[in-house]
């Protein structure tokens, strides 16, 4: 986290210097004004998005998802995997341990692929943030064109790398 902060801070300083070289102090202040405008518009949204994410975290704890999906494979597993991904709040430190557990407990390759794709494109807790930053029209188009991705990823995953549930990449688990 600290590493990311430092890299981003360095990038920001570099862009500030570029702004100054390109347009003097007026463009430098323009960059800050842009940031303040976006932050002012998104502040309430951010607070609520974090609160919703926190509430979902306590309402849908990881063990519940593990119990729901454990041992599921085939098309049913893929559909449930996508839906479970959409409902899972939090970052990779939350959902990858869930995946590992599911895989060890017999969930199919396609189920895990669909779960990760569902978390990627259907993430319910992240949706309000997307609407806030990009607008409703963009989000509707983005959702429409990626609606079938979890299903397609799951089917393709099973077709290319399938086999009995729990076999395959699970064997590579350290």
């Amino acid at each position: 986290m600290l590493g990311v902060v430092r890299v981003l801070a360095a990038l920001t300083v570099a862009l500030g210097v570029v702004a100054y070289i390109q347009g003097g102090w007026s463009l430098w202040f323009q960059g800050l004004a842009n940031a303040a405008r976006t932050l002012y518009g998104a502040a309430g949204l951010l607070v609520l998005a974090f609160v919703i994410s926190g509430l979902m975290e306590v309402l849908i704890p990881p063990p519940a998802i593990r119990k729901w999906l454990g041992g599921k494979s085939g098309v049913r597993g893929i559909m449930l995997g996508g839906a479970a991904g959409a409902l899972t709040p939090g970052g990779p430190y939350v959902y990858y341990p869930i995946c590992m557990n599911l895989y060890r407990n017999g969930a199919g390759t396609g189920t895990i692929m669909a779960y990760l794709a569902g978390k990627g494109v259907w993430d319910l807790a992240r949706l309000p943030l997307e609407i806030g930053f990009f607008g409703g029209r963009f989000t509707a188009v983005r959702l429409a064109v990626t609606a079938l991705v979890p299903l397609a990823a799951g089917l393709l995953g099973n077709y290319l790398f399938g086999g009995p549930p729990g076999r395959g990449a699970g064997g590579d688990t350290p």
């Binding site: 990311v4 902060v5 981003l8 801070a9 990038l11 920001t12 570029v18 390109q22 323009q30 960059g31 004004a33 842009n34 940031a35 976006t38 932050l39 518009g41 998104a42 309430g44 949204l45 951010l46 609520l48 998005a49 974090f50 609160v51 919703i52 994410s53 926190g54 509430l55 975290e57 306590v58 309402l59 970052g91 990779p92 990858y96 995946c99 390759t109 895990i112 990760l116 794709a117 494109v121 992240r126 309000p128 943030l129 997307e130 930053f133 990009f134 409703g136 029209r137 963009f138 188009v141 983005r142 064109v145 990626t146 991705v149 995953g157 790398f161 990449a169 699970g170 590579d172 688990t173």
Partner: protein
């Protein structure tokens, strides 16, 4: 934006009531978890918004329009997919950056590819995946996910037009 905030407030209220109904302390814990997470991310958010503000000021609009505008076609979609996929960052940073590109004239198909590329190829989760599922799974997932971001951009192009 106001509509979105209103909608979010309703969702937060509904979730709070559901949590309270299940266990009186659960709603408080959910709020605390969320606000604690927000406080932890504040430095990152402040930098991310500043970065996005400078990006919007510095990136020439003509450049964004010609490379990422709706008229950029397939090359814009591929560029968007790769740019999004390479970002090892969270949504609170990637979305303001995407919004800066949108303000600079990037088209919906390119932005859809950018966002989908980040969602599906995002390099930020690779370390977690290596550690939990192993590199062979990561390789397989990349093969399976490879086509989706550019495909999403092309479908968005068909829907929204040039």
């Amino acid at each position: 934006m106001r509509q979105t905030i209103g909608m979010l407030a309703v969702i937060a209220l509904a979730l709070s009531l559901a949590a309270r109904w299940r266990n009186p302390d659960l709603a408080t814990r959910g709020w605390k978890t969320g606000l604690h997470s927000l406080r932890r991310q504040l430095p990152l958010l402040a930098i991310a918004f500043t970065l996005a503000g400078y990006l919007e000021a510095v990136l020439p609009r003509d450049f964004i329009r010609s490379w990422m505008g709706a008229g950029a076609g397939l090359s814009g979609i591929l560029l968007g997919s790769v740019a999004g996929g390479l970002l090892p960052l969270g949504p609170y940073i990637v979305f303001p950056m995407g919004a800066a590109l949108q303000a600079g004239g990037a088209g919906i198909p390119t932005l859809v590819a950018f966002v989908t590329g980040w969602m599906l190829w995002g390099t930020g989760k690779l370390a977690f995946e290596f550690a939990t599922l192993g590199p062979a799974f990561t390789l397989r997932r990349m093969v399976v996910y490879l086509v989706f971001p550019p495909l999403a951009g092309m479908l968005a192009y068909l829907i929204t037009g040039p």
